[in-house]
């Protein structure tokens, strides 16, 4: 349906500096596919989406829609846009019109449908997105989730061939993500061709039939959700899809600032909503650093959080050591037993750089 060939986009700032947002991107989108575009912030996924309906003009390359290059000069882009729905992160409902007005404006003005008919159809669409009772509400009276559902309904009223979603869930409260997801899932079931740029990996995994992973303006990897999320081939893909967040400390001598370390850990845990493990983590660190590994310096401590699996682990690494630093004496073993009772599993393993003791907290 759409094939993108060697597409590049360079933004030139007024001061002359260049920013290559898309670098030679090529991909295909088939009818009925739900394609998720994922990647870190600034990787170009929104720009890719916006070039498909020419909201952003590409610098070079072509986009073929049903065999015609829409990036060519003189292509009737407005006619094409009428067949492509676009849902924005910030909803962009027309603030001066009520819900019905928002939905019927384009069919009435662009397709010349009579008001009565347009409103009748709008009511059917509203019913589909579960918003029949809000048909006379103004956008300002709606919650974020409701606004986004109306924005989707507004696109559906034009019977689009393809829908583009630009971060449809990112501006929503967690409590409102569900209702919008349900609507998008329903569209997927009905066979709507969709392109979704999103940060929500679980959503992409569940809804999409194909995933494109972008990084630094290029497509790194694409495949089914299973391939991308469970067996990524690139390390960048892996780090991104598993969403591993890490916090490092290196302890050089005997007297280091343990208070500072704990406060940084607290911030980290709050940031990723894992504050419930902080006490356990602090106890384990105290036991390991001050007792079990008291003689081993420099000692590197790493707190890791894998969002996808919601797994938290602590790594203790000692450089240039090939054998386990854990003694077999009774005292050490009793402390280790304590640690075992606090955690899920302890693994001792030599690595390239030294020796690592990994403690899984859950």
């Amino acid at each position: 349906m759409i094939s993108i060939r060697h597409l590049s986009k360079t933004f030139v700032d007024p001061d002359g500096s260049h920013l290559d947002v898309l670098k030679d991107v090529s991909c295909e989108i088939q009818k009925g596919e739900v394609v998720g575009i994922i990647g870190p912030s600034g990787c170009g996924k929104s720009t890719l989406l916006r070039t498909i309906n020419m909201m952003t003009m590409p610098t070079s390359g072509e986009i073929l829609f049903e065999g015609e290059n829409i990036a060519a000069n003189g292509y009737p882009i407005n006619k094409l846009r009428q067949r492509m729905g676009m849902v924005f992160q910030t909803f962009n409902l027309f603030e001066h019109l009520n819900v019905l007005g928002n939905i019927t404006l384009a069919p009435m003005k662009l397709k010349g449908i009579k008001q009565e008919e347009a409103e009748k159809e709008a009511m059917q669409i509203l019913h589909k997105v579960g918003m029949d009772d809000k048909c006379t509400a103004m956008p300002a009276e709606l919650s974020g989730g409701q606004k986004q559902r109306i924005a989707i309904a507004r696109c559906l009223a034009m019977h689009p061939d393809i829908m583009l979603f630009d971060e449809p869930l990112s501006a929503l409260d967690p409590s409102m993500v569900g209702e919008v997801q349900t609507v998008i899932r329903q569209l997927a079931r009905e066979g709507m061709t969709m392109l979704i740029a999103t940060h929500k990996l679980k959503f992409a995994h569940d809804v999409c039939s194909r995933i494109i992973f972008m990084n630094k303006g290029q497509i790194h990897e694409e495949g089914t959700p299973k391939e991308i999320f469970e067996n990524p081939t690139h390390s960048a893909t892996k780090a991104f899809v598993q969403q591993i967040y890490k916090l490092w400390f290196t302890i050089e001598g005997q007297d280091f600032d343990i208070v500072e370390m704990h406060s940084q850990m607290l911030q980290f845990c709050n940031k990723y909503n894992i504050a419930h493990i902080i006490e356990t983590a602090q106890q384990i660190i105290n036991l390991m650093v001050l007792i079990v590994l008291a003689d081993y310096r420099p000692l590197t401590v790493r707190l890791s959080f894998i969002e996808q699996f919601e797994r938290v682990s602590l790594d203790f690494m000692i450089k240039d050591l090939t054998t386990s630093p854990l003694d077999n004496n009774e005292f050490t073993q009793s402390v280790l037993d304590d640690i075992r009772s606090l955690s899920k599993e302890i693994i001792e393993e030599p690595t390239k750089l030294g020796f690592r003791i990994k403690v899984f907290l859950n």
Binding site: N53, E95, H96, L110, R154
Partner: protein, 494 residues
């Protein structure tokens, strides 16, 4: 603290100076002759012949006032010591009423003549020929005496002019609205000069049309061809002879110095109800003066509404230029806006009236001038409102396949109008207030109507109060009107 003390010191100095000035002008002996004027302050009208003649005097200081009622007010408040003006401009009764008296006449008389452009010597010669006949028959003397000796506003019989004159109208400009030389009652002109000019019109078979100007604007109007003859007690001076073609002298004018009459009973204290009633009668009812105000109001409204209408239409065009995708179109629009913003309203009016749109009526020129400014302010107000509506609304429309024009019409335009409404109300009110300068180009708007009443009654307070109230009501009504228009506009756009 130091700064505060410094300011207090300055303020005290100013108060002291002010007091000294007042005591200087109040104390000491009465002004009885020209030598008593040493070091005094004398008021007269801006641009009038006396001002031009006496500006160079070293023995006393001339201050300029826009109208005679301002001069009288200054004299009564003691800010000036005397007024110098045409000796016949106040009747005895009026002087008594104001508590003033005529102190003495100027030593010399000033010969007065009419002026034409140098290219129009034909007209000058014809007038001289006519004047010579008038003189030799003794009629000029009779006319002059008749007007000089009229004792109050009720003018002597003005000979009816024939209204079957078929020639091209003879356009006369004057800036002089003081009885008995030349003055207006409603539309009709009366006075010594007027009678002479009317007779001259008959003599050459051309109907005479009069046009009221500011003193400062009269000669430029003559030079730019707006009028054929400049009248209004023009003194014959060397400078004028150089640039203008002057007729023979038809009248010798003596100036008079008017001062406060110390013996007269000056009405002071609170105004009584009867005074107010008298003022209302004098300023509004007598000579149907309210009609002047009503006509002035009509002119003010016409200029305001037409300028707003055309300004909105052209402003939409300018807005499109400001938002054009072509840089040079945007540049043109911004140059236009900064040029218009940089020119004072009065200057713009004069440039249009005397240079660009010569031959158009004053009202047409005023509508053009205010349309130009309203166009600019309409475009910039809407531009700001569109910025406030934001790019997201635009993008939503763009992504749905609307064209730029459709997005403006259905999506961003209505929202911008709603946001811009309060500012437009302000623009409209300031437009109404700005129209008060159109008097410069010979339009009798509300402010000029007030000036004309004041020129006849020499009262400062009541006419000003009336037009203050009228302007205030206008501003209020235009706000309601704008609400209504916007409601319709937004409804219509959807």
């Amino acid at each position: 603290m130091k700064r505060l003390l410094f300011f207090i010191f300055i303020a005290l100095c100013l108060v002291a100076c002010n007091n000294r000035q007042k005591s200087q002008s109040k104390a000491n002996q009465e002004i009885l002759s020209e030598k008593d004027l040493q070091g005094k302050v004398v008021a007269t009208l801006t641009g009038c012949s006396f001002e031009i003649d006496m500006a160079g005097r070293s023995d006393f200081k001339i201050v300029r006032q826009p109208t005679m009622s301002d001069c009288i007010a200054s004299l009564r408040q003691g800010r000036v010591d005397a007024i110098v003006y045409d000796e016949v401009c106040f009747t005895e009764e009026m002087l008594r009423e104001k508590g003033m008296k005529k102190a003495f006449l100027t030593e010399k008389s000033y010969p007065c003549a009419f002026a034409c452009t140098k290219s129009n010597l034909d007209l000058v010669n014809k007038f001289n020929e006519f004047l010579a006949k008038l003189k030799s028959s003794g009629e000029l003397n009779e006319i002059t005496l008749r007007w000089q000796n009229c004792i109050d506003y009720t003018h002597p019989d003005m000979p009816e002019t024939k209204d079957n004159l078929t020639g091209e109208p003879l356009l006369v400009g004057t800036a002089y609205t003081t009885a008995p030389i030349s003055y207006m009652i409603l539309d009709k002109w009366y006075g010594l000069e007027i009678e002479i000019l009317n007779r001259f019109g008959e003599y050459i078979g051309r109907p005479v049309r009069y046009q009221l100007y500011d003193f400062a604007a009269e000669i430029p109007a003559l030079q730019s061809g707006q009028i054929d003859i400049a009248a209004g007690v023009l003194f014959v001076t060397e400078e004028r002879k150089k640039v203008l073609a002057l007729t023979d002298v038809y009248y010798n004018c003596y100036g008079a110095f008017f001062v406060m009459d110390k013996d007269a009973q000056i009405k002071t204290g609170d105004p009584k109800l009867s005074d107010i009633r008298g003022s209302v009668r004098n300023n509004l009812v007598a000579e149907n003066r309210w009609v002047i105000l009503a006509r002035g109001l009509k002119v003010t409204l016409e200029i305001t509404l037409f300028s707003m209408l055309f300004g909105s239409i052209l402003g939409t065009g300018l807005l499109a230029m400001r938002r054009s995708q072509r840089p040079w179109v945007r540049k043109t629009a911004s140059v236009y806006a900064s040029v218009i913003r940089g020119i004072p309203m009065v200057v713009l009016l004069m440039i249009l009236f005397y240079i660009v749109l010569v031959g158009f009526s004053g009202i047409a020129v005023a509508v053009v001038a205010f349309t130009l400014t309203f166009t600019s302010s309409f475009a910039s107000t809407m531009d700001n409102a569109l910025l406030a509506v934001g790019n997201q609304q635009y993008e939503a429309g763009e992504a749905m396949g609307f064209t730029r024009a459709q997005i403006f019409r259905y999506i961003t335009g209505p929202q911008a109008l709603k946001r811009a409404l309060p500012q437009f109300k302000g623009e409209a009110v300031s437009l109404i207030k700005n129209t008060s300068v159109v008097g410069y180009v010979a339009i009798q708007d509300l402010t000029r109507a007030c000036d004309m009443i004041r020129a006849r009654t020499f009262e400062a307070f009541f006419p000003l109060l009336f037009i203050t109230i009228i302007y205030f009501l206008l501003a209020w009504l235009i706000g309601i009107f704008m609400d209504y228009i916007f409601k319709i506009a937004i409804k219509h756009l959807l």
